[in-house]
Each structure stands twice: as C-alpha cells, then as structure tokens.
C-alpha cells in the first residue's frame, strides 16, 4: 500500500487541481466533473495504490475507470453548465491554427468522441503525457494510442472548423 496515510492524503491533495482538470475534460460539465473527482478521491482514499505505483498515473487510471464503467453508464448529463466563454487557443500561424470556439463547443466536440479517444486526448493534449505513459495508464498498446489520438485530433479539428464557420 502507498506509504503513510497522512503523506498519501497530502500527495493526493496536491494533485487535486490536475484531477479536476482531467475530470472536466472527460465529463464536461462542472458538477459532473466534480462528482467524478469526488468518486475518484473516495476510491483512492479507501483503497490506496501499491507502494511502487506512480500516484498521478494511478489516479488518472482510477478516474478513467470510474468514468467509463460507472458515470458514463449512468448517462451523466453533458454540458449541463452552459458556458459561452470564448476560448482563443494560443499560437497561430505555423504554430497551429488559431481557433475561437466556446467552452460549450469544446465540451460538445469532446463528448462526440468515443470514450477511449476522449481519454487519450485528455491525457496527451491536456495532461502532457507521452504515448508510452498514456499506454501504461490505459493498459493499451502504443499503436492503439497513436491511431486513436490521430482520429480524435482529426475529428476535433473538423468540429472546430465547423464551429468557426458559425461564428
């Protein structure tokens, strides 16, 4: 089991912002995302990871399992928090296409992705994990990560382009 209980709680608390961000990218709506974060915390506090486990990766794995196995099955409401905040992604020119879409549109586009694609997109694009690390977290081959990530990116690019034409 993962170290001293007090240390473990402090370590988990220090990771709470990243857990909430990951949950938001999966569940979309703030309330649903925090439900997911809460379920993840409670699961981790009840059953701590093995001593040699990387806590952050373990946390994301537990969160992903809860989301796919439980919360999605209960059909959590998506985009229940309407947010019209316009997001202007950094970059532009050769660095990347400058797009302006609303948070609601990002949530909606992410929600259209198959579950595993969405999780992979979150781990790589939002959390910054390498393909190898993502494969470890999800227990999938690297080739699967590569192919599903590229499909997710292409689908999102399409969605955001459509969104831009509406603005």
């Amino acid at each position: 089991m993962h170290q001293d209980k007090g240390v473990f709680e402090a370590e988990l608390l220090a990771r709470l912002p990243r857990l909430r961000r990951f949950c938001r990218s999966l569940a979309g709506a703030v309330h649903d995302a925090d439900d997911l974060a809460q379920a993840t915390i409670e699961r981790l506090l009840t059953k701590r990871p093995p001593a040699d486990a990387d806590l952050t990766k373990w946390m994301f794995r537990v969160c992903k399992n809860i989301w796919i196995d439980e919360m999605r099955a209960r059909k959590v409401r998506l985009a229940s928090d309407i947010d019209d905040t316009v997001i202007e992604a950094p970059g532009g020119g050769e660095q990347g296409a400058l797009v302006a879409v609303t948070l609601q549109e990002v949530n909606a586009a992410m929600a259209k992705l198959p579950d595993v694609q969405r999780v992979i997109m979150s781990l790589v694009a939002v959390e910054g994990y390498t393909y190898k690390e993502t494969a470890e977290i999800l227990g999938l081959p690297i080739g699967t990560i590569m192919s599903r990530l590229s499909r997710a990116r292409a689908a999102l690019a399409e969605e955001f382009d459509d969104g831009q034409t509406r603005h």
Partner: protein
C-alpha cells in the same frame, strides 16, 4: 497527401524515430498543404488545452475537500485543509510575472506558451523540466545556497534541503522569491523532470545578505510537516547531496 494523420499526429508529438522526424520536417518545410494540415491538428490540441487550462487555478469546491476531511489522518494539522484552500495558487495575486511549470513535460508542449509570462501572476505548479528557467538550479544547486534564476529578473531560488522520499524519489524543499513574494514548496525528481508536489505562498522576510528568512507562519509548518511525513530517513548531508547530484538524482 504524403503522410496520413496518424503519422502527422505522431510527428507533432515528437513520437517518431529521429530520422523519420527529420524527413517529415523537411517535407513540411517544402509543402504548404502539409503545414496547413499540421496546423489544423495542432489547433485542435491547443483549443482543448486552452479550454481546460483554467481549471488548474480554480479553488476546489468545499465538497471535494470534505472528502479528505471525512477520512483524514489524525496526524495532519487540523488547519491543513482550510489553509491549503486559502492559499491555493489560483487565489494568489502576487505582483510578479512568472509561471513556473505549466503544462506537462512533453517536447511538444515545452514551447514558449508553456511558460508564458503573465502579469500579476505567480504560479508554482506542475513540472519543471529541462529548458525551464529553474531546472538547472534544482538539478545542480546545493542546499543552503541561493541562486539567481537566469532570465527572470530578481527571482531567486533557495534549495533548503534534499531528501529521499518514502516512495523512493529524491525531493528538494525550496523557496522561490522575488521582492515580498515567496513560495515555499517541495519538488521531487520523476523521470527527467522535477514535479512540484506541494507549494504555498508565504510572507517573505528577505535580507539581501542572507536571503529568505522563515516568517514562522503556520503555512511553513504545512511544508515542514509535509517534508517530515514524506522523508525516508534523514535529509541528505552535503556530501551525500553532491554524490546524488553527480548521478543526476538517480
């Protein structure tokens, strides 16, 4: 198009063999269609990343913190959670301009925007990886020494002590400060980067001749308590620390 999305996606992430990356890079320079496709795929990433970036700075809702309180360890100071909430980096509005670590450590994300300077913003979060202004201090600096952070006006880093954690990682307690703004925290070496495990803003009492002096606040006890709980054995002495630095913290 010469390359499919799967290959271009891996190219964006730097996840191809060097030779293949170089070959694609040369083709990208010469082919505007390839550049446009890469820009679209990158744009999708950047939009998603930007959409959820602010979550990291939000103060967690009380119900999530209650999850910790409900099962809290009796050894933890009772005020810990409340203070952690009050001093969550999002709530800070210090008048300095630096972001220390932001997104993850991947090659692709270590671009300029990963460490973008924002006025009135001082965050100590995430990962300090090679190329980051503070990386060298963490990697080679000795404890009890104060280092100027290159390219960051008047920002100083003091490594307080080094230790091996109960999880087997090497960690460093640090102070990062400028003027009256200071952060006190702990970062641990994982893979090739330093990950900030915990950090709090703390009032700075800085004497230019001796550097930062602990202001003896309860917040500092949060960090010292964290260090005490995380440490396996004793802190490294200077000779042990030199030896570990020479081995790249392995």
């Amino acid at each position: 198009m010469k390359y499919d999305d799967k290959t271009l996606s891996a190219y964006i992430d730097g996840e191809l063999p060097k030779r293949e990356l170089a070959a694609i890079g040369a083709d990208v320079k010469a082919d505007p269609l390839l550049r446009a496709r890469i820009a679209r795929l990158k744009g999708a990433d950047q939009t998603v990343r930007a959409a959820y970036a602010d979550v990291i700075d939000e103060a967690p809702p009380e119900r999530l913190l209650q999850s910790f309180k409900g099962l809290g360890a009796p050894r933890r100071p009772p005020s810990f959670l409340a203070r952690a909430t009050s001093y969550w980096p999002a709530a800070l509005a210090a008048s300095v301009a630096l972001v220390i670590g932001y997104y993850g450590a991947s090659q692709f994300q270590a671009g300029p925007q990963a460490f973008a300077v924002a006025k009135n913003d001082f965050r100590v979060l995430g990962v300090i990886s090679d190329g980051h202004a503070m990386f060298e201090s963490f990697e080679t600096g000795q404890s009890a020494q104060i280092y100027d952070v290159a390219g960051q006006d008047a920002l100083k880093v003091e490594l307080v002590l080094s230790f091996k954690s109960v999880g087997g990682d090497f960690c460093r307690e640090f102070l990062a400060y400028r003027s009256a703004d200071a952060f006190h925290g702990v970062a641990c070496k994982a893979d090739e980067s330093w990950t900030v495990r915990i950090a709090v803003k703390t009032p700075a009492e800085i004497d230019p001749s001796v550097g930062y002096e602990t202001a003896s606040t309860d917040l500092d006890t949060v960090i010292s308590d964290y260090v005490a709980r995380s440490m396996s054995g004793e802190a490294l002495d200077l000779d042990q620390e030199k030896a570990v630095i020479a081995k790249g913290w392995k």
